[in-house]
Amino acid sequence: MTAMTPCGDWRASYAADTTIFPTRNSRIALLLGIVLLCCAPLVFDRYELSLLINIGFLGIAALGLNILVGFTGQISIGHAAFFGLGAFISAYLHERFHVPVLLCIPLAGLGTALIGLVFGAPAARLKGLYLAIATLAAQFILEDFFARAQWFTGGVAGRMTESPVLFGFAFDRDESYFYLTLAWVIIMFVGAANLMRTRDGRALVAVRDHYLSAEMMGINLAYYRTLSFGIASLYAGIGGALYAHYLLFVSVEAFNILFSIQFLGMVIIGGLGSVMGSLMGAAFMVMLPEVTQWGADLLAGSSIDRALKLGASISFLREMVVGAAIILFLIFEPDGLARRWRLIKAYWKLYPFSH
């Protein structure tokens, strides 16, 4: 394994083609990145850390959606409902059965995955638009269920929950919770990157690229579409559980259709069918309101501010920016940030002769 990728295609084995790290440097770069992230609590204040934690659990859920939408080509407009399901399952398990929170998080993932499989089984027959509408219906039905199921969700009042504890050490501060989230992000992202190298991962991509040809090659369409739904729900559930034990309060209103759309926005902005893109998309979606706020603050007091009532309507402005970002990315950069990142890397690699 060399430090640089050679010019041209020298890969001789299948293993070399599917490797996660093409060069030694890429592996070192990733490890360095993780080490740098581990130092983040020393540098950032609590607010910035909370943004990073948000990026973490949203990124995990977005990755799940990306496996469903980007890798398998199935659309879902109900991802937030599954995210919420994970949050509620985790909080419920902890409160009702006193399962330790650290164990609740993977259990919530599995529970959500099971329910995702139940929803995915009928969805396996549908595709494209019909699936979009069916998942839209699932979003409303689950949302209605959350509001109704007092025993499970605490109804409209919401449900309180607690921080994870390990051997007497509580992850109740942003600094410590950051490491917990980081660990889960690494596990889930490595898991997804490896999934795509396996037989099952390739089958998912085949279903996306041409489902009829895939079926002719012996890929069981219904099985893989359902499986993809299950995996997406697993990721959503774990993201949701991390969310629940970070905020310590789960309420029904959070998991509305707008949140589902934001997940789709993350996947599109990050790049469909790109593992790291999901994280970039989540980072983009988390930073977007911050940038909007910053822009509004910059204009505060000016005549534009007075004319448009920026301060009072910042929440609408944020929603508009989300909508606009999705449309602009679709028109001008349909492959998302992941492609832009590749272009930047290529630019530096070929530096003096980048054309």
């Binding site: 939408v69 080509g73 659309i75 407009i77 009928p122 027959r125 549908l126 494209g128 638009l129 019909y130 979009a132 509408i133 069916a134 839209l136 219906a137 699932a138 409303f140 039905i141 209605d144 509001a147 109704r148 009829l212 040809s213 002719m216 707008l258 759309i261 789709l264 926005g265 599109i268 469909l272 309507s313 609408f316 402005l317 944020r318 929603e319 508009m320 989300v322 909508g323 606009a324 970002a325 999705i326 449309i327 679709l330 028109i331 349909p334």
Partner: protein
């Protein structure tokens, strides 16, 4: 059993269902012509209703003038949307187009909240008598008028597609774009026209609902109720859209009746159509009147 209530709710269902039918029709129009699933249909209602409200209250225009200006505005609105946002996405995968219309939906919903506020605002009264008695039931005049308007729009659509030149061009495009093009139909023009007509027709529905309930962002929920209606009727059938709309209107009112009489679950009014939707997708995914897709490699 409360028969008067049942009758009242059935009548409501028919009237609201006719409106759903109108919105579903304009949704199907876009889908048929340009294969775009418009998740921002509800926002067409919203924008139309707010613009009309603005003409009537801020500019103090009489209703007919404000209404005509609204329709003109919506025509431009639909044209511009199609040309600026949807045209660059021709040939992109379904999910991109769906996401673009969803993005448009959030954008305009937030924009309307920003400009006009979050609270429902009533229209100035349009009819002199508020209520009329029909078959022993109190019915709001506006509701009757809305039923009339809906029927008028449906008849208009029927004529447009059966007899007018543009309607035929649109049907030809829906049938096969290449063939239509080779016969001299300008496909981009047809796309733009379908969006303009859809926006105008949705705005009419939006104004009617606004006159009845006041204008608020709840209007955009009509755009979501359209999905059960069109799936029920079949995505590419105008007649199916109308029937689907009426069925959804009746379904939600009857669900409300059953709920209020026996179950007391609450919220059935909103959710029942979606249960119906899931059921239909499981049994008959191409709807009652839709054409079944046969795919070949």
């Amino acid at each position: 059993m409360d028969l008067t209530l049942l009758l009242q709710l059935t009548l409501n269902g028919l009237i609201v269902g006719a409106l759903y039918g109108v919105v579903a029709m304009s949704f199907v129009l876009i889908y048929k012509a340009s294969q775009v699933v418009n998740f921002a249909q509800g926002e067409f209602l919203l924008v139309g209703a707010w613009v009309c409200w603005w003409f009537l209250t801020e500019w103090q225009l009489p209703f007919y003038a404000g209404f005509i200006f609204t329709l003109l505005f919506m025509m431009l609105f639909g044209l511009v949307l199609q040309m600026v946002v949807l045209r660059p996405l021709i040939g992109e995968p379904v999910i991109s187009v769906i996401m673009a219309t969803i993005g448009l939906g959030i954008f305009f919903q937030a924009l309307m909240k920003w400009i006009f506020g979050v609270f429902a605002k009533p229209f100035p009264p349009i009819f002199e008598t508020e209520q009329v008695r029909v078959l022993g039931l109190e019915v709001q005049t506006v509701y009757l008028a809305s039923l009339g308007v809906s029927l008028l729009i449906m008849a208009g659509f029927g004529w447009f597609f059966k007899a007018s030149k543009h309607g035929l061009a649109m049907r030809a495009t829906a049938f096969d774009q290449q063939v239509a093009q080779s016969l001299g139909v300008s496909v981009p023009k047809v796309f733009a026209m379908s969006w303009a007509i859809s926006a105008v027709v949705s705005a009419v529905a939006g104004v009617v609902v606004g006159v009845v309930n006041g204008v608020s962002s709840a209007l955009s929920f009509y755009g979501i109720k359209v999905f059960p209606a069109v799936i029920l009727g079949g995505l590419d059938s105008i007649l199916g859209a109308v029937l689907g709309g009426v069925i959804v209107g009746l379904l939600e009112n009857w669900a409300h009746y059953i709920d209020s009489q026996w179950l007391n679950w609450g919220n059935m009014f909103q959710i029942a159509p979606f249960y119906g939707l899931v059921l239909i997708l499981l049994i008959k995914p191409y709807g009652l009147f839709g054409t079944r897709n046969i795919e070949r490699v």
